[in-house]
């Protein structure tokens, strides 16, 4: 039985109630992780490198969304109905655009000069780390170092119950937006000409270029797509948890874990990895203190890398989704 068993028995009643609540929160977090993880996985596919500065793309999207909401909602009462939907749409657009722009700038400044020279991999990593540090500290300088909460574009009431656990508006929004984005992206990569180009470069860049795929353009577009999703995730995160200049670090580390968990380079893997990580991490609160949540997520990363480095669905570079 052991101490843990006793603990479970004693808390069985609360646990049953808490379980679904934690589960719902976990799914919402997991969708966010998945949206960020897609950025890692796409870039890994075409360049074979971890975009360390992806956390700052997320942060950029968060700040863009924050300023948009502040301009439109301000300190007044949160709007309702169609106005809410419109505002969220504008916020996602703003976050996604900011993320895409930031991703493009990153690719041009921190990666392309190195790619031209065919620099060793270590150089890319260091350059990306430099970019990340530069960006979030610049954000801290321009927008202050203290965390702030975001004006709410909707009334955060309980929408419905899942097994007695309340599901808040915030979670509903994340579910809807997340699902739309994942399905859209999945279609884009597996069906469109653009997606074929990205997959071709991921499979074999040289051959793809011989077949008429413009590599530079494809890489740039990959960064834009990943950046847009990361930025949109940044906005959603900011809506629920506020913004601060270091906000990108932990979610991005977890999103990377999610990408590895699902199998890096594998789009569906990134989404599933995000969900599994989000739920698992959220439920781990039952066993460990909340302060150690990050340790749990990180433990999963190390474990996956050691036991099954190809992830749950396996590394898939260039195959359909």
């Amino acid at each position: 039985m052991g101490a843990f068993g006793h603990y479970l028995l004693a808390h069985a009643v609360t646990l049953k109630h808490e379980f679904w609540q934690l589960f719902v929160g976990g799914v919402a977090n997991g969708l966010l992780y998945g949206m960020i993880a897609v950025g890692y996985t796409l870039v890994y596919g075409v360049l074979r490198l971890i975009n360390f500065a992806h956390s700052e793309i997320f942060m950029t999207g968060g700040f863009a969304g924050y300023f948009v909401l502040r301009a439109f909602v301000g300190s007044g009462a949160p709007p309702a109905g169609l106005a809410s939907i419109g505002l969220i749409f504008i916020g996602i657009l703003a976050g996604g655009t900011a993320g895409a722009v930031m991703a493009t700038v990153l690719e041009r400044v921190a990666y392309r000069p190195l790619r031209r020279r065919n620099a060793p991999k270590l150089a890319y990593l260091i350059s990306a780390i430099g970019a990340s540090y530069f960006l979030f500290n610049l954000a801290g300088k321009e927008f202050g170092h203290l965390p702030v909460s975001t004006p709410q574009p909707y009334i955060n009431h309980t929408v419905f119950h899942v097994f007695g656990a309340p599901v808040q508006m915030f979670f509903v929004i994340i579910f809807i937006v997340g699902l739309i984005m994942f399905v859209g992206l999945d279609r884009l990569i597996s069906k469109s000409r653009l997606g074929r180009g990205i997959r071709a470069v991921a499979q074999d860049a040289e051959t793809a270029s011989l077949m008429g795929v413009n590599i530079d353009r494809t890489i740039a577009i990959t960064f834009i797509v990943g950046g847009a999703l990361g930025g949109a995730a940044g906005f959603l995160f900011a809506m629920g948890y506020g913004v601060v200049y270091t906000m990108g670090f932990v979610p991005a580390l977890k999103a990377f874990t999610a990408a590895v968990l699902g199998g890096i380079g594998n789009l569906r893997g990134a989404m599933i990895g995000g969900l599994i990580l989000g739920i698992f991490e959220s439920l781990s609160v039952v066993v460990v203190q909340a302060a150690y949540i990050d340790v749990v997520a990180f433990g999963i990363l190390v474990l996956v890398l050691l036991v099954r480095p190809t992830g749950i669905l396996g590394e898939r570079l260039g195959r359909a989704a």
């Binding site: 490198l49 971890i50 360390f52 300023f67 041009r108 400044v109 921190a110 392309r112 000069p113 190195l114 790619r115 031209r116 020279r117 065919n118 620099a119 060793p120 991999k121 270590l122 150089a123 890319y124 990593l125 260091i126 350059s127 780390i129 430099g130 970019a131 990340s132 540090y133 530069f134 960006l135 500290n137 610049l138 801290g140 300088k141 321009e142 927008f143 202050g144 170092h145 203290l146 702030v148 860049a205 040289e206 270029s209 590599i215 530079d216 670090f249 580390l253 990377f256 590895v260 203190q289 302060a291 150690y292 990050d294 340790v295 990180f298 990363l301 190390v302 890398l305 050691l306 480095p309």
Partner: protein, 448 residues
């Protein structure tokens, strides 16, 4: 004049202006959350004083600078070949001289002499403290990280963990933690040195053995997480580490062996000499290691792991060794910091710190001990100076912004560092030349 109107030159003008605009933003005043545009406004459209000499609109001054830089760069790239070859000729004489061993030894002796008399020349209390806390300790950390990143080619982003473990071990053996001390009666920090180094090396092996099988980029992210975890544990294990409130008071070290009796007090200079002795020691050991069988194995693994394995080198063994050996100097740095500063807090061991050390290694030159020492001295002197007399608009957190920018700039323009390790430079060049032939055809287009 024709040089300035070519298509590439116009593009270069755009790049120059962008770079200067970024510098303008970096050196401008800070904004705040309630006034997010004020930083941008203050950086671009307001006037400020330049070095106390004159006041002018910032954008005019910086735009002027951009133009000058552009003209100089354009002519330099087009007609600089002669100037460059002339410069190379002038440099060739001292460069050749450094290859002679007696010149090298003489230079080293001179540098050591400067390091020894430095505290007597610069007697300002701020700088004496900075020499230990900001420079000597960082030199130690940089030569330690150099073993991992430079010699073995492993990107370790959690180096701060070893520093923290060293510091907390000191607190542990001196009885400054809430948990009972390691031995029955608390030791003084001097005897913590071997214990801390041993524990930190063990931690290096423990962390390294499972994770060093991973590919380079995975390793970077795992070490990043490890550094973060050490901070989380230090912050939350109140019963063991004292949590975010930090430790109890850590005593100063003292030495009492036979005729030698010495007590390190509150003044920084004795710590400076203690650290200097260990810096010299570590430099000697590490440079011997580099030229030993172990060092050659590191080079082999770094250059081609599969080939190294096929000639009978066990990559994992040597990588773990690099981790543990590199960690040793960080552990010692932790002892010095803990015993000099009385208290230690988890907040001093953050990820930012790891990156700071990485910048020292990258600027100086991965794999070059002389380089990383120079890098550490340069950057840490500059950052101490910024701490001592901050220019207007500068906040202490901005340091990391500059360091981040420096990393990108180094990777683009001088990946091998200020004083490159000859071997490392050759590797980078080989990798770049290797694919050059068809790379141009594949990627096409001109460089940004």
């Amino acid at each position: 004049m024709k040089v300035l109107f070519a298509k590439i030159a116009v593009r270069r003008l755009f790049v120059t202006i962008s770079v200067v605009a970024i510098i303008e933003l970096m050196t401008g005043p800070a904004g705040s959350n309630s006034a997010p545009v004020s930083g941008f406004k203050g950086s671009f459209v307001e006037s400020s004083s330049f070095f106390g000499l004159f006041r002018a609109q910032r954008w005019i001054v910086f735009f002027g600078l951009a133009l000058i830089a552009w003209v100089v760069a354009s002519f330099w790239i087009n007609q600089g070949t002669q100037i460059r070859s002339r410069v190379r000729q002038v440099i060739a004489v001292p460069r050749k001289a450094t290859e002679k061993s007696f010149v090298r030894r003489g230079a080293l002796a001179a540098l050591l002499f400067v390091a020894i008399i430095l505290p007597h020349v610069e007697t300002a209390p701020f700088w004496q403290a900075a020499m230990v806390e900001q420079i000597a300790v960082y030199v130690l950390l940089a030569i330690g990280l150099n073993v991992v990143v430079g010699f073995a080619g492993l990107l370790d982003l959690g180096f701060v963990a070893f520093y923290a473990i060293g510091a907390y071990t000191t607190a542990w053996v001196t009885g400054a933690l809430p948990t009972p001390a390691l031995f029955h009666h608390p030791l003084n920090p001097f005897w913590a040195i071997p214990i801390a180094i041993a524990i930190v090396m063990a931690a290096g092996v423990l962390l390294g053995a499972p994770t060093l099988r991973l590919r380079g980029d995975y390793l970077a992210i795992v070490t990043l997480g490890f550094g973060e975890i050490v901070t989380i544990f230090a912050n939350n294990l109140y019963g063991i580490t004292g949590g975010s409130l930090g430790t109890k008071q850590i005593p100063h070290p003292s030495l009492d062996v036979g005729p030698i009796k010495y007590h390190w007090g509150i003044t920084p200079v004795p710590y400076y000499y203690l650290t200097l002795v260990f810096v010299v020691l570590f430099i000697i050991v590490f440079s011997l290691l580099e030229r030993s069988r172990v060092g050659r194995s590191w080079t082999a693994i770094r250059e081609d792991e599969v080939a190294a394995e096929s000639v009978g080198i066990n990559p994992l063994k040597y990588k773990v060794m690099a981790f543990a050996i590199g960690a040793a100097s960080a552990g010692f740095a932790g002892v010095i910091t803990a015993s000099q500063l009385f208290f230690i807090f988890p907040s001093s061991f953050t990820l930012l710190f790891s990156i700071n050390i990485l910048v020292l290694v990258i600027l100086g030159g991965m794999g070059s001990i002389a380089g990383v020492v120079l890098g550490a001295v340069l950057i840490q002197t500059a950052s101490s100076y910024l701490l001592h007399s901050p220019p207007s608009g500068y906040q202490s957190q901005d340091l990391y912004m500059y360091l981040g920018a420096l990393l990108i700039v180094m990777m683009i323009f001088r990946p091998a560092g200020l004083i490159p390790s000859r071997r490392r430079k050759r590797e980078i060049m080989l990798a770049e030349v290797d694919h050059e032939g068809h790379l141009d055809e594949v990627l096409g287009g001109d460089d940004l």
